[in-house]
Symmetry: C2
Subunit: 174 residues, 2 copies
DNA sequence: AACACTGATTGTATTTTGAAAGCAGTTGCA
DNA sequence: TGCAACTGCTTTCAAAATACAATCAGTGTT
């Protein structure tokens, strides 16, 4: 255990955990992208390199944000799961997304999920967290109907399709 | 302007702004500590060094999270102010504090503020943000009564006094 | 005149980060 | 039985970030 902290302030300690450019993106991809394997996480929007990913996964395991187990279908595959500690970040993700959407140069397709999370509010976040608990902690009683992740993903793809169609039209007109 | 971003995802862009160990602590000290001057910010709990502080202040100014003006009382003093963009981080600070308090080894005295922010909920956050707007943006209509920051600070000092008394008693008993 | 304080800057050592390439074992397919 | 593709990860090495101490020129105080 490394308990040589700069201070015992909760905000400082939180920053010591994910106050870097990558840790929270890994959690994001697991939460919103449903990624569970090393190679899946390697294909992030931002292009994380494998040594950094390996290092962050190791740290997140040590901290207790993730757990790791073997994939029965493949002797070399590992399955990473979120712990309650990581699932509890969903509201922070939602706030971060909302803040970024308001003040930073986001793209429409990559911020549609943030918009829906913001509009859905705490009720949606709780539902999403329940789904994640069912998926990652093996808890029973997963909410019925289309999952929050699927709904967000569908909205993302809809924007992408619309944009592709718009580009097509613009191309034909030129 | 440096708009060579890794991706236009709102969470990623947010991390590009304060995805480091210091930026958010500076904002924290300005919000909760009421610090406005370089030397005040230099005396952080965590001991930031002056070159790092200067660098982060510069970056935060460029991004638009802070503004800087001369202090009329001293020709060499500069006063840093939060912008709306930074004040809008109050809810994120509250969530971060709550999360850290739940999952990380915080101390009682440094987490009492986070506890009160959590208990106060969005209504308290809004009041705090209004106070910060009055203080930093020069808006009128500052809420009356003891300020949120003073209330938090008083609670912190109360814990400190109680702990000092406890140490005294323990010392006398040994 | 002496001295502490102002927001920084400079110089240097150490640590962290990160891209590219490589690795040993596994799997699926021909 | 090859063999290519895939598995999680490690190695290498350069570059960037950070820490730490000393320093600076102007300002205010005594």
């Amino acid at each position: 255990m490394t308990d040589d902290h700069r201070s015992a302030c909760p905000i400082n300690l939180s920053l010591e955990v994910f106050g870097d450019k990558w840790s929270l993106l890994i959690i994001r991809d697991m939460i919103f992208g449903g990624k569970r394997h090393f190679r899946e996480l390697l294909r992030s929007q931002e292009g994380i390199s494998s040594n950094i990913l390996a290092d962050r996964l190791k740290t997140l395991l040590e901290i207790g944000m993730l757990t790791k187990r073997d994939d029965p279908s493949h002797k070399q595959k590992a399955i990473y799961s979120l712990t309650e500690m990581a699932i509890a970040l969903v509201p922070i993700m939602a706030h971060l997304g909302a803040w970024g959407r308001r003040y930073l140069p986001v793209s429409e397709e990559l911020s549609i999920r943030a918009q829906l999370m913001e509009e859905g509010g705490p009720a949606l976040w709780e539902r999403f967290m329940d789904e994640l608990r069912a998926e990652h902690l093996g808890e029973t009683g997963a909410p019925s109907g289309p999952s929050v992740r699927q709904t967000l993903q569908a909205a993302y793809e809809e924007v992408m399709n619309r944009k592709a169609k718009e580009r097509e039209l613009a191309g034909a007109g030129s």
